[in-house]
């Protein structure tokens, strides 16, 4: 399912008032409205089978873009075509091919077991009985929730509930799936299981995924391509690792000598490279080329007990990026 977004803009009008009782009275008598531009001239094309991560700070416009793509909102300007459909016209044929999982909202009936909500979805999406049974079995096995199907939704843990939400969202085998913070609030194991599942499902069904997440590990594990939104503007569209390298091209080197190395050699190396030496262990954060050079020089001094070259934590890198995105692009 291909997506074509052209010059999309969305503005909201809201009223503003000062804090306190006085402000409340003033606003009641004379309400002042202001327009907020949530998205401005966004362009994005996504091919069938891609997993694209949408990145941005809180309030950047990620969720607004998702809502426009599934037809929850009407744009102020621009157009979106998803396999020829205009989302906000909400044709049944289109709605049967999409699905949205919002980490903070649920579609399951709270007071009854999830299996009942699945049956309702079967009727809503007109899924033939045999196909429904097969898909449900497959999803339940993959997400490992066989024993939770007949438990009231409100009695499930957050992780179990999210898995059930994902099952409900995928029963009709949508071609286009939007995941808005799918791992929010989950523990590390549940996060990783959901990531594995998304990857598997995408490969198996060639479905198109759009994903927003504040957990950079989600993005790193799932998305080769990211689209960055900043203050309602599209800022970057491309490879995630390339973006990370652009922001902080350094890698981390840890090199442990068997004995204390000659001090004069270290001083001479420190004139060329920036690194630390504490108790026979060298640590450095350097760009690829420099790091290779330093590693060669260290090997000339002595064979290491152990050494490693690591990527810097992507969360830190992205935090640096979002503090001033224009600086890096």
């Amino acid at each position: 399912m291909s997506i074509h977004i052209q010059n999309i803009s969305k503005s909201f009008t809201s009223f503003k008032r000062e804090a306190g009782l006085k402000g409340a009275f003033q606003s009641f008598i004379n309400r002042k409205y202001e327009t907020f531009h949530a998205l401005q001239n966004i362009n994005l094309d996504v091919d069938s089978g891609e997993i694209v991560g949408i990145l941005g700070e809180n309030g950047a416009g990620k969720t607004t873009l998702i809502k426009l793509m599934v037809g929850l909102l009407y744009p102020t300007d621009g157009s979106i075509h998803i396999d020829g459909y205009t989302p906000w016209k909400r044709k049944n044929e289109f709605l049967k091919q999409i699905s949205v999982v919002m980490g903070q909202k649920n579609q399951l009936w709270w007071d009854i077991p999830a299996s009942e909500s699945f049956l309702l979805n079967q009727k809503i999406y007109e899924i033939p009985q045999a196909e429904y049974k097969k898909t449900l079995e497959e999803l339940v096995q993959l997400l490992n929730v066989e024993d939770k199907l007949n438990v009231q939704v409100r009695r499930l843990s957050l992780g179990e509930r999210m898995k059930m939400e994902i099952i409900a969202a995928l029963l009709h085998k949508p071609k286009f799936i939007l995941l808005d913070e799918p791992t929010i609030g989950l523990d590390v194991i549940s996060q990783s299981k959901i990531r594995e599942f998304i990857k598997f499902y995408n490969e198996e069904h060639n479905s198109t995924f759009l994903l927003t997440s504040h957990y950079m590990n989600d993005i790193q594990a799932l998305c080769d391509r990211v689209f960055v939104i900043h203050k309602g503007h599209g800022l970057y569209d491309g490879n995630f690792n390339a973006l990370v390298n652009k922001i902080k091209p350094q890698k981390k080197l840890i090199f442990e000598f068997p004995h204390a190395p000659a001090e004069d050699m270290i001083v001479s190396l420190q004139q060329e490279f920036e690194f630390n030496l504490i108790r026979n262990v060298v640590t450095a954060e350097l760009p690829d080329k420099q790091l290779t050079k330093l590693l060669g020089s260290l090997f000339k001094l002595d064979d290491p007990v152990t050494f490693s070259v690591e990527e810097l934590p992507v969360e830190d890198t992205m935090r640096t990026f979002f503090s001033n995105p224009e600086k890096f692009l």
């Binding site: 909201f12 809502k67 599934v70 929850l72 049967k96 909202k105 009727k123 809503i124 007109e126």
Partner: protein, 269 residues
């Protein structure tokens, strides 16, 4: 049509399952209407005794109690204010999203939920209605024609009432918080549609005004058919007028939704 029925009958089934999940709530719901009827009976009995009269506005005590008994049941069955409050909340808090992203209609889904939630009460009330000829012999349902006429008028009242609440639901697209409006309408509706006191007890002026509104079709019309107070030769014209009100309110709701959904912000998600 078959697919439509299959889809939305599943919603009714779900609401049954949910309602049965909480037995105490169901029992209390049933008990509340019975206690209301009993209180009304005691009040009117005292009024008749105090006035020392056998007739008030052409009603004997038994006729009046039978009329009010049926009015309260009809009033209860047609009132979708709880569903409306849920719908308004869905618009305010972004809960509407889950209906918009699926191939279902917000209007029909909630109509079916309302029917589903109420249908368990329907069964209990219909048992009461079935016992009516024995409790109040000769006062209601004296012919099969009246039974069918009552059922058709009840169906019309339920649908018309749902449409009227739906109009208020759609207003929340602009004003966001309109629950006070629904509650105010609900209270006014209980009195002004003849649910507690028969319409003919109201002043002439009020009766003249009310004939230009859909209110008489909500309670007075089905109950008047059941008790034989509406001559059969007037049924057709009344049904036609009631049907017109259904179309008008449906059209207003549809139009408000069409424009209102463009204002929707999908907040809370």
């Amino acid at each position: 049509m078959f697919k439509f029925l299959k889809k939305y009958s599943a919603v009714i089934k779900m609401t049954w399952i949910q309602t049965l999940e909480y037995r105490a709530n169901l029992y209390v719901g049933l008990f509340s209407i019975l206690s209301g009827i009993f209180i009304e009976y005691l009040i009117w009995k005292q009024i008749f005794v105090a006035r020392g009269t056998e007739l008030i506005r052409g009603f004997t005590l038994n006729e009046l109690v039978a009329f009010i008994f049926l009015s309260m049941i009809v009033g209860q069955l047609k009132s979708s204010w709880v569903t409306s409050i849920e719908m308004i909340d869905a618009i305010r808090s972004g809960g509407l999203n889950k209906y918009l992203i699926r191939p279902i209609s917000f209007y029909t889904y909630h109509l079916m939920m309302f029917i589903g939630q109420n249908s368990l009460f329907y069964m209990a009330y219909f048992t009461l209605i079935a016992a009516f000829p024995f409790i109040f012999p000769g006062l209601a349902f004296t012919t099969n024609f009246q039974v069918f006429g009552f059922l058709a008028a009840l169906f019309l009242a339920v649908y018309l009432s749902y449409n009227m609440y739906y109009i208020m639901v759609c207003i929340s697209f602009w004003f966001h918080e309109v629950r006070a409006l629904v509650i105010a309408y609900n209270i006014a509706n209980i009195i002004l549609s003849g649910q507690i006191i028969p319409l003919r007890f109201f002043p002439e002026m009020y009766l003249k005004i009310i004939t230009f509104t859909p209110l008489p079709f909500l309670v007075d019309f089905p109950v008047s058919i059941a008790t034989g107070q509406l001559p059969t030769d007037m049924w057709a014209s009344k049904f036609f007028l009631g049907f017109c009100w259904c179309l008008i309110t449906w059209g207003i709701g549809k139009t408000l939704y069409y424009f209102g959904i463009k204002q929707y912000g999908g907040y809370g998600a």
